[in-house]
């Protein structure tokens, strides 16, 4: 029984981080219909920001989270302006943007690999290797803090989307681009802001990832499939769905890892992706996808 509880706690803590990693992806898809394959590589960018801040100046990764988020948001604005704004009128929009983000992922991976080499990195603040003990249960502090910070950020994001004027505009654009534009929403500007928020979330997730997982530039391919399975299960574009799916899948993965073997725990995500696409392509909270 304690075993099961232990695995559940570890799964939930990791799930919180994965939820934050996926939420930016989901937001960008919702507003712009872009499947951002470069999202994990941008998370790794954010992780490097925190890594170097920790390594060079000894700054705590959680403290540098806002800096990583802001830097990545600025990069997001730049990317939107350079690459995606001109694609809006493209006839094969979804296909083109997927391939563009794929190429972007390669560029980022190549750049990071050339600049920082492909060695495994991890920031090691004191709490990353420490744990709380409750009876026979142990809760690793690093994962607990990361999970809590993630859920706090997602909570703030939900509040922002639901109760601010900008949030209304973003949700309106998600629901129906043309109608939103008719009602006076500057769809292009909103898209840019949403894209910047999405990439900023990637940066924030990167800071947390830097002490929860070890990372290197080529790690992104593993994360792409992992995050995609989370976002697809949650229903593309639904931030709430992403959180639920992330918690669900990472708990399942934790059980698979504990009972079957550590290699198969990542496999859970990939197989889940296949099964979801087969049974319910629109995910838990998504609308029925149009055939296009």
């Amino acid at each position: 029984m304690t075993d099961i509880l232990q695995i559940l706690i570890l799964g939930l803590a990791l799930g919180g981080v994965i939820a934050l990693m996926g939420s930016g992806l989901s937001l960008v898809f919702g507003v712009m219909r872009i499947v951002n394959l470069a999202h994990p590589s941008l998370i790794i960018c954010g992780a490097y920001v925190s890594y170097w801040a920790f390594k060079l100046w000894g700054l705590d990764p959680i403290a540098t989270l806002p800096i990583a988020a802001l830097i990545m948001a600025a990069i997001g604005v730049l990317l939107y302006r350079l690459m995606f704004e001109s694609q809006a009128k493209s006839a094969r929009y979804s296909e083109m943007t997927v391939l563009l983000t794929f190429a972007l992922a390669m560029i980022v991976e190549g750049f990071l690999g050339a600049a920082f080499t492909n060695t495994q990195r991890v920031t090691s603040p004191e709490y990353a290797t420490d744990a709380f003990f409750i009876g026979s249960l142990f809760i690793p502090k690093g994962q607990l803090y990361a999970g809590c910070v993630s859920l706090a950020i997602i909570g703030a994001l939900t509040l922002f989307l639901n109760y601010s004027r900008l949030g209304y505009a973003i949700r309106a654009t998600t629901q129906n681009r043309e109608a939103a534009e008719l009602l006076g929403v500057n769809v292009n500007l909103i898209s840019m802001i949403a894209f910047a928020i999405g990439i900023g979330l990637a940066g924030a997730a990167g800071s947390l990832v830097s002490f929860v997982f070890s990372f290197f530039p080529a790690k992104q391919w593993e994360w792409i499939a992992m995050l995609m399975s989370v976002v697809v299960l949650g229903g593309m574009g639904s931030v709430l769905g992403t959180v639920v799916a992330a918690l669900l899948l990472s708990v399942i993965a934790a059980f698979v890892g504990a009972w079957v073997g550590a290699t198969w725990s990542t496999m859970t995500f990939f197989l889940a992706l296949f099964v979801i696409l087969l049974i319910r392509p629109q995910g838990l909270f998504g609308e029925k996808p149009e055939l296009a």
């Binding site: 001109s86 391939l99 190549g110 050339a114 995609m228 990542t266 392509p281």
Partner: protein, 347 residues
């Protein structure tokens, strides 16, 4: 020529259509420059004669490498270009082909050159089974599922002891003298490339190819026009896996070792997509032109900049620039402007 529809039998309808089509086609399209690909093939077949005068192994390697990618890119073109399903998981079939023939070579000593078609067949069967599942979704979801396929295959190959796991397996090295060591593989790849180009031409101009192009435009309309879209696209997926697997088989023996981190990397898949897009998706000559361009780019980048990270970076940049400024590729862009030279009009 007017045809009275009341009395027209099938042959006169076909005749009328032929004449109508002939009027539509521009004059220079009617006489195809078939001689050009044949001349290229002839030159490539005669190229190894250079070996008599010196050591041109690097040149042979380049042609062989380009031909191997031309085979795979043309194969990818069947599902990605004709049917419009972008797959980023074709490295899986490359690996399946390579490993199937590699295991036969290592255990029973049968040359991969003989088992390559069989390896292609095995890849095609795997492609058919995978396609039955993943081709249910289209657009971004399909692309994601193909990446997931690659990740699953990578984990399986990395942990399968029989084929050496992550360390891979080494294959016997050919005992031919240096001057002729590359020739079997050279001829195998050049002939395979010729066969693939011919096969994709036949596919594009068959009823099957027409059906694929119809479903790439609008799947629902194609279905209601009586096309069995499910069967068509799964078959297209299997066919494209066949060519990629065949190429993988010969490539494995040429390289003399098999390892998941050579065969099962996303860069292989990305190269196929990139070649088709740069050359012109859905055209016959496009993948070949793309393969030549990309191999040339890669060689230049590796020769001048070295590191593989720079190579990834450069591939990404070329892909972004190609997508943003030439979304129809070299052949497609030229054809739209009506400036495609006759020798490159292989469609």
């Amino acid at each position: 020529m007017a045809v009275d529809l009341q009395q027209a039998d099938a042959s006169s309808v076909l005749e009328a259509r032929r004449i109508h089509n002939q009027k539509l086609a521009r004059q220079h399209d009617q006489t195809r420059a078939t001689w050009f690909p044949l001349v290229v093939l002839g030159v490539l077949l005669a190229l190894p004669l250079l070996q008599l005068t010196g050591n041109y192994n690097y040149l042979l390697h380049l042609v062989l490498f380009t031909a191997s990618y031309a085979v795979m890119a043309s194969g990818w073109n069947i599902i990605g270009g004709f049917a419009g399903y972008i797959s980023l998981g074709h490295a899986v079939f490359f690996a399946i082909g390579g490993y199937f023939s590699g295991v036969l070579l290592a255990r029973y000593g049968i040359s991969s050159l003989l088992t390559a078609p069989l390896a292609g067949l095995v890849a095609a069967i795997c492609g058919y089974l995978v396609g039955l599942i993943t081709l249910k979704v289209r657009g971004p979801s399909f692309i994601i599922s193909s990446i997931a396929l690659l990740m699953i295959a990578r984990i399986l190959f990395d942990h399968w002891g029989f084929i050496g796991g992550a360390n891979g397996m080494s294959l016997p090295v050919t005992d031919l003298p240096v001057q002729t060591a590359k020739l079997p593989y050279y001829y195998a790849f050049v002939l395979m490339a010729a066969f693939t180009v011919w096969a994709t031409y036949r596919i594009k101009h068959s009823k099957f190819g027409l059906g694929l192009r119809a479903l790439s435009k609008d799947e629902v309309k194609a279905e209601s026009a009586g096309i069995n879209t499910r069967f068509y696209k799964v078959l297209a997926f299997a066919l494209s896996a066949f060519f990629v697997g065949m190429s993988g088989a010969v490539w494995g023996e040429y390289l003399t070792y098999l390892r998941p981190n050579i065969f099962l990397i996303i860069l292989v898949s990305a190269n196929l997509v990139l070649m088709c897009i740069l050359g012109g998706k859905g055209t016959i000559a496009g993948p070949v032109v793309g393969a030549i361009l990309i191999v040339a780019f890669n060689e230049i980048f590796v020769a001048t900049l070295g590191a593989s990270e720079i190579n990834i970076l450069a591939t990404g940049f070329v892909m972004v620039l190609g997508l943003m400024f030439f979304p129809n590729g070299v052949i497609g862009t030229l054809a739209r402007k009506g400036k495609l030279p006759r020798v490159l009009n292989w469609d």
